[in-house]
Symmetry: C2
Subunit: 389 residues, 2 copies
């Protein structure tokens, strides 16, 4: 029995936008391996992406072809709108094999279908051997870089997608509150991480959550000086700890990330100063964001708020997010940083995340926002301050 | 402050085995991008692998070089034994950029260090653009496929590693028991998934767990006909449901996977028959496994147990597992299937997982085992049967 998250029309709308870009660039076939892109275009879901699987989008075929491990074919039948004659399971001998390669199977699917193929050269899922194998199997095929073609289409969300992100936002709020409430001197870090993870799955009273694309980032003390550490499995929180919480929950794989910082005890003056500067910068920047601005202009606006404060922020201050699977809820499209000429458009969802990581501690306070027709709108309403316990 | 999971000697032992293989194959430099391989060789930990990071192993340098995003450099300082002069953070402009590529930075690290570089052509983390960029930046460098060189070294575990896997096994047992106890008609699937996820992080009374490399696989009803579906976020269990539980918990990223099946109500005769056949096959095969056997011989032994039962199993029945990050706790080395000539050696840990996925339902009962000097040993003792609720 098929069970789809969105209407077939919504999936076809997305496919049409992808095909328009293919057509403009003279691409006849597109190989889609990223599980979030597969989900975006067909609904395909399942933790089967640890083996090679994907879609072949053929400009001349109204329907994408799914390929994957035979034992995952039923997942394609149940979670996508694709008809059986577009679902191709390969035999198990191809799986993680030293003797044969899945791209030999995929080359057969593609044979005679066109002269130009685009692949995600710099994506997570298209590895070097796939390219070498396709080159060998289809020597006359011109293979070009799709340059995150699906990712760019996906960056502008439709109303049903924004509704999912808002639903995820309610889960993130609940998880954040549970984390802040639970953190105290003497509590195991793992216990708070367990509560957060359970809340992310449990969701709300009316709908469930999902496994997030990034596990809760929640370092304490000196570990807050680095950007992507999780909890310490064998440590209890102590008085004097700063704790970073970067939590993103998901609803049907649509994420809503949020960061806040907790201090256990009396916060040092320098941390409070950093907090004040960041919160002020967040609020002033959000007030100035609107459609038509370039990503680098948003960053410049933020940077102007730091002048004279002594606070420095050398890395990007935000990125587009949305529908995602591990390892990242970011979309690798829009980055808020100098030089990024991406133009903000209504329907884009961006995590404004000016994390500060200093030599011995860090501070995080972030806001996920939606670009609207007239400005921007926070996707989560959560107090912007240093939380003191 | 550095905090390592294993002794520096243990990390150096591993590095020496990797270098021995490099030397035998005439490889001067090895690029290691897989986060589980980075962790294996240096201890590096953190959810920063969504941007490009890695190690350069130089046969002539006693110490690996770490490279990654500058804001993650402190994670390298805290979680590895590497000295500061072997930690190279790149500036943020390289991150997920359309304008420049991290492999330009890495090429600079490698320049003048040797003539032969091995990379993981078919790994998750070495994408096609990395290869194209290295080829362009270092045109005189010979780049060869490492063919999962580190993965093969890692497949044979030391005593301290096996101890971690046993610790993970205690967490998996607790999670499995919690899942089986909680499943009942009328219970939300997401609620059981939340309890399992929390238990995986909470660990035991004496130590914490970790985020697993594969999210709990726990489909119900018709969804059990596919291999890798998780819970349904908006469904309650019903009488007559079959529920698959493939749960792997982790301790310091060392996994212990286990599968069992639950039926709510009176199980149909065909499901009970499949269960009896699989459990009998598991037990007879485990009794016959010993070091020196080929992987394909283990599969043949299993297959001989199916003769005349009517049960068929067309896919591989097991694989090596251990230290892992998303998306897979498998090691992509040993597969229990026809044609795999890998020889079982003491210290290997293998998930014997003869999952059965039929047209309308599935059945799973699996055992993770350790190859010993004289035979094999189950890493988890858990009742082998169909659980009826």
């Amino acid at each position: 029995m098929k069970k789809l998250v969105f209407s077939t029309d919504e999936y076809k709308r997305r496919l049409n936008l992808v095909k328009e870009r293919m057509d403009h660039r003279g691409i006849e076939m597109l190989l889609v391996l990223d599980p979030s892109h597969m989900n975006y275009l067909t609904g395909f879901d399942g933790w089967s992406f640890y083996v090679h699987q994907g879609l072949v989008i053929d400009l001349k075929d109204p329907t994408p072809q799914w390929f994957g491990r035979a034992q995952d074919s039923n997942a394609a039948r149940m979670t996508t709108y694709l008809p059986d004659d577009h679902i191709f399971g390969y035999k198990d001998e191809y799986v993680q094999s030293r003797y044969m390669h899945t791209m030999e199977f995929v080359a057969n699917l593609m044979k005679g279908r066109g002269n130009t193929l685009a692949v995600e050269m710099d994506g997570y899922w298209f590895n070097a051997k796939m390219l070498l194998t396709l080159n060998r199997e289809l020597p006359n095929l011109k293979i070009v870089d799709a340059e995150n073609l699906v990712g760019w289409v996906k960056t502008v969300k439709s109303a049903p997608e924004i509704a999912k992100i808002r639903e995820a936002g309610r889960i993130t709020e609940a998880a954040m509150t549970l984390a802040i409430d639970s953190i105290a001197a003497g509590v195991w870090e793992k216990e708070v991480a367990a509560l957060v993870s359970a809340q992310q799955i449990r969701g709300t009273d009316t709908y469930g959550g999902d496994s997030p694309a990034i596990f809760p980032i929640m370092p304490s003390a000196e570990r807050t000086s680095s950007a992507h550490l999780t909890f310490d499995a064998d440590r209890k929180y102590q008085k004097g700890d700063v704790v970073l919480l970067e939590l993103g929950s998901a609803r049907h794989h649509y994420h809503a990330p949020l960061s806040r910082t907790v201090f256990i005890g009396e916060p040092p003056k320098d941390l409070q100063h950093v907090s004040d500067v960041v919160v002020n910068g967040l609020q002033k920047t959000l007030a100035g964001i609107g459609p038509g601005m370039m990503a680098e202009e948003v960053e410049a606006l933020w940077r102007s708020c730091l002048v004279g404060t002594g606070v420095e922020k050398p890395s990007r201050v935000g990125y587009s997010f949305g529908l995602a699977f591990v390892p990242d809820w970011g979309e690798r499209t829009v980055s808020l940083r100098p030089g990024d000429k991406s133009v903000l458009k209504p329907g884009m969802t961006i995590h404004f995340m000016p994390g500060i990581w200093l030599d011995t501690y860090g501070f995080e306070c972030s806001e996920p926002f939606l670009v609207t027709e007239t400005g921007c709108e926070k996707l989560i309403e959560y107090p912007e301050r240093l939380f003191v316990k």
